[in-house]
Point group: C3
Chain length 350, copies 3
């Protein structure tokens, strides 16, 4: 969608410099920008590297970093305002009530007229899909599921029955929500399935990456709080409670009943034992391992397997790298002590 | 399905106390239980915490832990009997021969009349699907596959051709069985695909979690033994042999030709090199790494990367945490030895 | 497809011994070989173990390792030539222009007549699918995607819009290509989505394993070079650049903007921080962790979390296992030093 610089600046509530009538068509990185691109220059270091030969429609920059001869919008947070401008320039297409004839919609399902339904979608009995949702090809919405307004379900998203999802939540291709949790009781010969009859509640503005899996509660609810963002191939087990605004990078796995409070930030390939408790705002580095039942305290950054506070882990890791020197120092000490003993014995015997 | 307490007790072969005619509708956890719920109290610790204000239809408890004023079924293993009761109270719906008109079934496929086939299912030529199976929306059964009785394939399960599955096996949404293994021979310039023309055999009563992947044998068979339970996002490579009653938690990966014997228990995010051999009953902690060709001995619990016996690993991990002290001790020793040397030299020169 | 030994030898450009007219039907491993099987014996160790009772149609062996009484093709690289012979004996079935009537093909899509299209496939507007491609059941090809010649997309592969794929590339079931990358800018209260409007380019002869996920570039391109092979459940984040002939084992995750040069070999469950740079030919052991921004140098093998050169890591890991002895040595030294001090004091006071 084409916009003038003055329209974008007005949308962002920011001042601009240069020709406000210049048209902007798209957001770009420097490397592929052209005369219709909006770019951003995050800070002075980036500004110093900005190639003078690049011609763009407009750059979002901090005051004092304006490149010569370029139209600019002045911002204190260029990357954030660039992201905001992108949603104006390249908005996702809204639902327009398009329903592909190949979609299978149960008679008892309650689907708003505005909803887009792609080819080969299956919507089960008593499901409710609210205004503005987009269900891409091959999506399966189980019996009794509820989707809030303006959700986007990319191809082949699977919702097991009774899953509830808030507004503006985005589920990427292959995401599975509501599968049975992994719970058995061993009877001495076989693993007897523990009931997995709970549900999943995903709140507003959540985004979940491709092929991630969210198990239903065994007896209760697996919950993902508003504004939480989850990357690809992440596993969320039964009864896990994830707060608001949490960020979880790819391939992380969270075991049953673990609690992640608001605004926690979790790297990739992290593993959580069951019944762990991560307090508000904790940061956990990639590949870390959190033991079952462990409590991670607010205000701290953690890393390692098992996790330790970051400063401690860094020190230990540095010392790990110095093990050869420590071994040599011990050997040298042994030699010195042996010769001291000999010298002392000699003195004593004199 | 509503049952009386006496019916449930009779099904479990256990005695009850209180009003046997009370109706029970569902299994619940304490938090959400109501007057129609069956709950369980696993042990005295749980019994001590049981809130007296909760009103439930019935609690399964150990003798001596009965809460006052509550109908009870007396069990030596309350959690196990609760799981058993759940299968009576909330059984999964049996197949009733329902076939959605949108399903695509090859003319040469042999599908029992009792099988439920959801919308948009595709069953390939010469496939056989036996009595009581349920194939949910979007399932793909490849050419020549065989499914035993009463299997449940959740939405979008993919079976490549020639995969064989036993009775009562459950595959969750997005599971892929029979994909090509990862094998190439480098010819000096390119990676030439090694043939991946074997099969997969999954025995009875197996359950596999959402989006897990099971590769076919390269020339032979990838095998998963009866009663084995596999969590979400697990990778099983070509020619892997998994025994009976094995438990494998989420995101674990098992490389080619590795052998896992019966009743092994494997945590989440564990990795196995190829041709490893895990003997019967071994327990492996989460995030562990097993080197290629490694043999893990029965009777042992393992942890760490690479794995070590648990007691050894715990000791090493504790010492890892004491590296700063060790470093200080070495420094202190150096100082003392230096002053000893000086004192000794002084003595010698006197 | 049945072939004579002389036909196979001629195809491979290799000499044979024995009856060149013997028919060969299939490739097999020793364990399941029969009189119509082609097998291979890689080296003298394998030859020494070859059971004399096995009857096969033909064995590919090194000169000097021929089993008595067996037809042989003589090769310097038996496993490689066996893999080549397999593509002659058991070629994948070519596309024959079969289109299932249930497939949904946009009117504006440009699909070559030779392409096989399975049941319940969805091809979006303006997509181009070139000669000889095979799209299995449930595949979704997004708007504007381009597929080169003779690609195979197994069931339920999802291509988001604008993804471009070269020739002879194989995507296994459940692979997702072009999903949004994981990028947000925190505005102090919420995570604002950074635009994910780039694309994915996958070159010729790439193979990607089941349920792996390849995110689209945020503003630029995520690229996977020709001949690269990727295993199951691998995560490739936005803007990652992977060179030619790279091998990546299962469950590895590569964070945003990381560069992997040609012919790098990566084990399973490896994790890469963002903006790492792995130079040509580097080998990285399973479960390794590469820090953000880290440069791994050509000619080196790496292992550990965080990665170190393999020889260094092995030495450190051995010393880690000797921590108890180091602790004891320090304790013994302390005792000796204490008694030395005492003895010296005694001498001094004399």
């Amino acid at each position: 969608m084409s916009r003038t610089i003055s329209e974008i600046a007005s949308y962002l509530g920011l001042p601009f410099q240069g020709d406000g009538d210049t048209k902007v068509d798209k957001v770009s990185s420097w490397e592929i920008a052209d005369a219709s691109s909006l770019i951003y220059i995050e800070n002075k270091e980036m500004a110093a590297q900005f190639p003078r030969t690049i011609r763009v429609a407009c750059a979002i920059v901090m005051a004092g970093s304006e490149p010569v001869g370029t139209n600019t919008i002045i911002s204190e947070k260029p990357k954030l305002d660039f992201a905001r401008a992108a949603s104006l320039l390249q908005p996702s297409r809204p639902a327009m009530g398009l329903r592909h004839s190949s979609a299978i919609i149960a008679a008892s399902a309650d689907v708003d007229d505005s909803v887009n339904i792609g080819p080969l979608v299956a919507i089960g009995p008593h499901a409710r899909v609210r205004r503005g949702c987009i269900l891409h090809a091959g999506v399966v919405v189980g019996e009794g599921c509820v989707l809030g307004e303006e959700c986007i379900l990319y191809p082949n998203v699977i919702l097991y029955p009774q899953v509830e999802i808030g507004n503006r939540t985005i589920l990427h291709a292959g995401v599975v929500v509501g599968s049975d949790g992994f719970g058995y009781v061993f009877d001495g010969a076989a693993h007897i399935k523990f009931p997995q009859v709970g549900t999943v509640l995903i709140e507003d503005d959540v985004e979940i990456g491709a092929n991630s899996t969210i198990d239903r509660g065994s007896l209760g609810v697996t919950r993902i709080g508003a504004g939480t963002k989850i990357d690809n191939l992440v596993q969320v087990a039964h009864n896990v409670q994830i707060g608001k605004g949490v960020v979880i990078a790819a391939q992380t796995g969270i075991s049953g009943s673990t609690i992640i409070e608001d605004y926690v930030v979790i790297g990739g390939q992290v593993g959580f034992g069951d019944h762990a408790h991560v307090q508000k705002g904790v940061v956990i580095g990639s590949k870390a391992g959190v033991l079952p039942g462990k409590i991670l305290r607010s205000g701290e950054t953690y890393w390692g397997i098992p996790v330790r506070p970051l400063s401690e882990f860094k020190r230990l890791n540095a010392l790990f790298g110095r093990l050869p020197q420590m071994k040599e120092e011990i050997s040298a000490l042994k030699e010195k002590v042996t010769s001291l003993q000999a010298a002392l014995q000699k003195l004593e015997s004199e």
